[in-house]
Symmetry: C2
Subunit: 409 residues, 2 copies
């Protein structure tokens, strides 16, 4: 049986990166760029004022100071968005707004705060600006031809701003996977059906959809296949018609009515692995189906028990979804360490995910392991704020043991 690390390695090896598509810039946030982008124009596109103030010739006001005002003739006003009509001659100033183009002849801008204008058409300057003071020169930030964004960049809002400033309307980004979710099991009824004796509600569909919504991956919940192999086969056909990723929960264990694996194989899904040395989640299945375009569709068989299904979703499906979208998978990350305050027996040959309450503060977390835990105990899972990991090789967590954990958010 694969260790969880080996299972994840298999998943990351076999799961491809999807092909690019073109989307409007406004929709590119969080997507992975599939092309390198180069600057089309200088930024700023022209010399412009960094302040509201007066464009001057620095030589004219070289001696200006708080007690040595220099008077200049005010020639004109340049607003942001308009062009200077006149060039500056010695002894003149042009009133200028932030972002407005610097008039010809001017080589500095004096901030409004260091000036006064008591007479019409004349302005008094109380400061000797350095040459180029308060001028944002053309191309200061970006020069034509410069690389703006490398292929593989995950587009951030700041990148959207830069690319908007550069006039990029459409970007080539890695496509998002479309996910189909379906649940098997004759015991399941949907949220809208009455709950007959012996039945339970399908919680995997809504909860998987909730995780995918959080991860911004589009998904369609196809509902419940029951334990009817023919119905499952038909639903798989419908799912493969649109989906890149299929998540089937239930029916992957060893019971007499666990048809899922057999039906998947019949539907052309090749098993990469079945079962991993984890608790909960042992019967997880991962397979591939060749698609007509020469690509691969990804199939996960998740356990039917809801806690197991959701643990497998975060541990194994999320990294696959990240890989498909071109990210370097970073989840889940057990980046915190805590000290168990109570004991918990575990199977020595499996890694156990333990629902805990973490208390304390940075670098001093205590983990209270919730007892008992069970793969169908959603109430138990909802009481937890943290998920800790107890590795293969130990058969008991003892008080004081240090465990890696992450928050359940």
């Amino acid at each position: 049986m694969l260790t969880p690390e080996e299972a994840l390695q298999q998943i990351l090896t076999h799961t491809p990166i999807l092909l690019p598509e073109t989307v409007p810039l406004e929709q590119a946030e969080g997507r992975v760029l599939a092309e390198e982008l180069f600057a089309q124009s200088e930024l700023p596109p022209f010399d412009n004022s960094a302040m509201d103030g007066f464009a001057v010739r620095s030589a004219d006001v070289a001696d200006a100071g708080p007690d040595r005002p220099v008077k200049l003739k005010m020639l004109d006003v340049v607003r942001a968005g308009s062009l200077p009509r006149l060039a500056l001659q010695p002894g003149q100033a042009i009133k200028i707004m932030t972002g407005a183009p610097i008039p010809k002849g001017a080589d500095a801008v004096v901030m409004k705060e260091f000036t006064s204008s008591t007479e019409d058409d004349w302005i008094t300057i109380f400061r000797a600006p350095k040459k180029n003071e308060n001028i944002r020169p053309k191309g200061e930030d970006i020069r034509v031809g410069q690389s703006l964004a490398l292929s593989g960049l995950r587009v951030r809002p700041y990148d959207v701003a830069l690319l908007a400033a550069q006039g990029f309307k459409m970007l080539s980004v890695v496509r998002k996977p479309k996910v189909a979710v379906l649940a098997t099991g004759d015991e399941l009824v949907s949220l809208t059906e009455p709950l007959a004796p012996g039945k339970i509600r399908n919680s995997n569909g809504p909860a998987i959809a909730a995780f995918l919504s959080r991860w911004k991956v589009p998904c369609r919940d196809l509902g419940i296949a029951g334990d009817d192999p023919a119905r499952l086969e038909e639903m798989l056909r419908d799912a493969f018609a649109f989906a890149d990723v299929l998540l089937v929960s239930g029916g992957v264990s060893v019971g007499d009515f666990d048809y899922t694996k057999a039906v998947l194989e019949k539907s052309g899904v090749r098993e990469i692995f079945w079962k991993a040395a984890i608790k909960p989640g042992k019967p997880i299945f991962y397979g591939l189906k060749a698609d007509e375009g020469g690509g691969k569709k990804i199939v996960f068989g998740l356990p039917g028990n809801p806690v197991s299904a959701l643990v497998c979703l975060e541990e194994f499906v999320r990294p696959a979804l990240e890989k498909l979208q071109g990210f370097t998978p970073k989840h889940p990350s057990y980046h915190l360490q805590g000290k168990a305050v109570n004991a918990y027996p575990k199977p020595k040959d499996r890694q156990q995910y333990l629902f805990c309450n973490a208390r304390g503060s940075e670098n001093d977390w205590e983990l209270e392991i919730i007892r008992p835990q069970g793969s169908a105990m959603l109430g138990m899972a909802c009481q937890a704020n943290a998920l800790a990991v107890a590795r293969i090789g130990i058969d008991q967590v003892c008080p004081g043991d240090r465990l890696p954990f992450r928050w359940i958010k």
Copy 2:
């Protein structure tokens, strides 16, 4: 002028929590619950098997062991989703699947792995189960009437699973704010217009929309108002007709054409503060407008320079959006510490946000401050992977100084 902490305090004091709305369970992930929910039924709803195996009377097999097999008559099969037809009598076993109801008379389930069935209708047991072994008792996880989720909970996928299992179809959650975004400035042209001399592209609209999309807050980008007060007033009227939050960028400074504040006031917006002691972003404006229903609309005037606008968006607008949605605002959080490797002068009376490249590893980060920085330099901002904070009171960051920082993602 308010310190950034005082400004944030003002924002959090005046920004209300929105009223609840009812949404389908599937859409509740990440939303804040506006009601306490109580269990409608037991979970599990009936005693059921935790394993595929055989339901037995533990007394019948009390002496069973690997070398002491006990034979039982196989009476029936119970699948998950069906009901047991027969009660167990002494000497009998019923084959049972995971999740299936426990037949009357049985008080333990022996895992399939500890049994063999060489003859039809007879089953050999090699293990003496404890009483109740592998039985998940009715109500083990959740009892009727128990609190499932408190008002104020931010709904997680695990909560969705539990609430689905309990048959909740609709939830009352705090409404999400609708945000209107508009840019002022005669210098701005949209992405689809040609770039005439003296003009620049509106990058604030797309970048603000990108941040809001990341934060899952619906927004409508109303485009560019120019510097025409009448046009701006008309656009504000349209915005207030649907939006809870209005973000106007540009025109909040002290230039002759900075009409935004005046037009906002004319439109019924009451100033709570104008200007904060920060760089970039000093001219930020925050105000409120009473709405007809007795509520308040939130208005931010953001600086026109794109780096300033985006810094203010993350520092001040995001916490307001979190408060509106009923979260405890946690952003932005400067939870890391790094050591500056280079010097940077700053205004002593303002907190400066410094775009940096952070290198190193946990607990040993080096911050290279990008030089020069400017409030319009998007290319500079896109080179950074971290934003550091240099507090009020110091006029120079020196190499070796420790600065709080956060990642720019």
